[in-house]
Symmetry: D2
Subunit: 134 residues, 4 copies
């Protein structure tokens, strides 16, 4: 699979009183990058109409350098592992000066709707798996 | 109806790089105060199981004084108007020194589920109206 | 001043359990549109290094139609008024089908740093005023 | 050190279109729990006036069970390690039925102001270290 990267600017509302992007917002940036990545493959993080989605089972981030208001972050997305039911991503954040800002990891599990307000994990369909490089 | 007020602390993540609570977060505080208010009446902003909710049709806030990290804001909730289908609230924010911080207004409309992903406005049921003082 | 518009996609994390963009996030979208608008004029919502910014004194939004995950909203920005110290904006939100989604209004006040953690309102400098069409 | 726990309700605005608390908001809940914990010790996550704070260098969360609107989560806070300059926390989330919801970990580094907009890591002062049980 070719490397994939997307960009997103740090907005005023993404910062906190320390003058830098709030640490929880890196996870929102990862989600946006994952959405962009899946779109590029013709997929989505959620196809409610089709009754499936990719909820997260774990998420982590190591912070190397602050991100500031109006920084434009490049988020490189890599699929680290495709399991029977799960997909693990790595996200490398760099700023507009090419400096490493953060490294994130998220594991999602393929789930199908199983009645009102209920979902259950399921094997990733072959066509989705193929697109993810699994 | 007796006056109602609730409190909520300004968290680190509620602030922005100006060192004060981000302006959009006042609307989140209004929503929490509305939830507290409705709970006190034995109601909720959303009863998904019963197929109804109170989505917003307008929201506004006037900012008088900054709210800072670790400030404990008192949010007084008043029902300004109960219409056939709508409820309008006023929220008065004061800080722990009794200073006026902000005044917000939100109008919500009673809606019922009308098929998958669809809702439609409806008359507020008499029991809910009575609790709201309408 | 020529009309200005920017676009922003509704992300998964922008939605709430009603399946639509949370009402407070429209204010974050307004802030992003304001930043884009000011950038297009060679300005910013905050020039910390130069000791000035544009904090908000009021914000309002009328919601006409839900915005959903993966909708791409166009936000048209118009300067409604430039006062001695304040700027009032109007934001018109439309979706990718050209439907009106929301109308927002924000008034900001030009402020200068006035010591540690303090700011005070000031007259908008002539060069900034000229760019804003005031 | 005696065990410490705090509670926080899942608000409407904390949820996403999957009907559950958005995964990034668990990190905001961890921050609130850390603030409560430090307050209980007579400390804070940030003492801007005294020129120090505890920015994060890593954060992680394992999600075991969804948290839903109006759930009241108990967040137990444990200091897992106090290093020369860092503090590592573990956060155990349970819901009002006593079910495990998530487990989070955050490592923060003690930093002092080092000029405008700059901070640098430093050894944790003895009095703060003693309170943290290090």
């Amino acid at each position: 699979m070719p490397p994939f990267a997307t960009t997103r600017r740090v907005e005023f509302g993404d910062t906190d009183m320390a003058g830098i992007m709030h640490f929880a917002n890196f996870f929102r940036f990862m989600e946006v990058a994952e959405t962009d990545f899946l779109h590029a493959l013709g997929l989505s993080v959620s196809r409610r109409a089709e009754g499936w989605g990719f909820p997260r089972v774990s998420a982590a981030c190591d912070y190397r350098r602050p991100a500031r208001f109006e920084d434009v972050l490049t988020v490189a997305v890599a699929v680290e592992r495709v399991g029977a039911k799960s997909v693990s991503y790595r996200f490398d954040f760099t700023n507009q000066r090419g400096e490493e800002v953060a490294v994130g990891r998220v594991t999602t599990v393929f789930c199908r709707d199983a009645g009102p307000g209920r979902i259950e994990s399921a094997e990733i369909p072959a066509d989705i798996r193929a697109k993810l490089g699994g």
